[in-house]
Symmetry: C2
Subunit: 142 residues, 2 copies
DNA sequence: CTAAGGTAGATGACACGTCAACCAAATGGT
DNA sequence: ACCATTTGGTTGACGTGTCATCTACCTTAG
């Protein structure tokens, strides 16, 4: 339980600090950043539901999110000829520019706040631990 | 960076799942839970700002939070005789009942989803890693 | 005693996440 | 051909978090 407390504290501070940073230096929220990273990594254009599965969010969250991002011009929605219900989400030039500006700065913060705090062995251990927890959760109900 | 990705994924899934659970089986939000745990651990009555420091939140967040909790009857606000600006936050009987019901169930979920996934050594390693990251963050600007 | 600055806490505007309900188009069985 | 189910995606209400701003009270230097 001490481990749990430390983990929680660390995780809250770290995530909080990083998302405040990304917002401060790019004007984007952490969610904007995540979506743009995944979307552009995947070619800058994908079906809505594929994006949902890739990012592992609920579809309603993604729907609100892309709605807001579209309003700000970071992405656009196109309708899908093959499936009358479907939608493509496309990263706009503005979106590309935003992510290309933000990514290196963000990576730098991750390195500074997180990676630099740990040795190579500790990073490996943490990766292993995280994967084990993930795997264990998969096979747990609910 | 692989370690970072695993960590982020794990942490998101785990926190998401736990807070959905606590809300589902107690009707309280994760924030309600946190506040009540800390408050009752500290005797069930403390100055607002002490609570803010204990939980390590921004005061405005806490202000909104206790406002909502007061509206639901989980805590009450009393004014402070020594300091005209001050407020005491007090856990009501309803509040006590709520965490006393919720806490064991929540602890059980933490054990099931997190602690049981790891060996004693892994837990110790994770605690050490978390503390190192926390300590490292303290001495980093911003 | 008074003015300057600090501290306690509240508030309003806004972005975000969740849940449940919803609609429309696709699919599959009879 | 037809109805039932599933899938893709949206919507609205509501609770939550952040930021900036505000007020009231306290403290302390002069």
């Amino acid at each position: 339980m001490a481990a749990w407390d430390s983990f929680i504290r660390m995780q809250e501070k770290l995530i909080g600090r990083l998302s405040r940073r990304v917002h401060a230096d790019s004007g984007m929220s952490a969610s904007d950043y995540t979506v743009l990273v995944k979307l552009t990594e995947a070619g800058g254009r994908m079906r809505f539901m594929d994006l949902v599965k890739l990012v592992e969010w609920e579809k309603s969250r993604m729907s609100h999110q892309v709605g807001r991002m579209a309003k700000r011009g970071l992405v656009a929605k196109e309708e899908c000829p093959d499936d009358g219900r479907g939608a493509f989400i496309v990263a706009t030039p503005t979106g590309y520019e935003a992510i290309e500006d933000a990514a290196p700065v963000h990576v730098e913060h991750v390195r500074r706040l997180f990676i630099d705090a740990l040795t190579r062995e500790e990073l490996a251990a943490l990766a292993r631990i995280s994967d084990r927890v993930l795997a264990h959760m998969e096979e747990q109900p609910d």
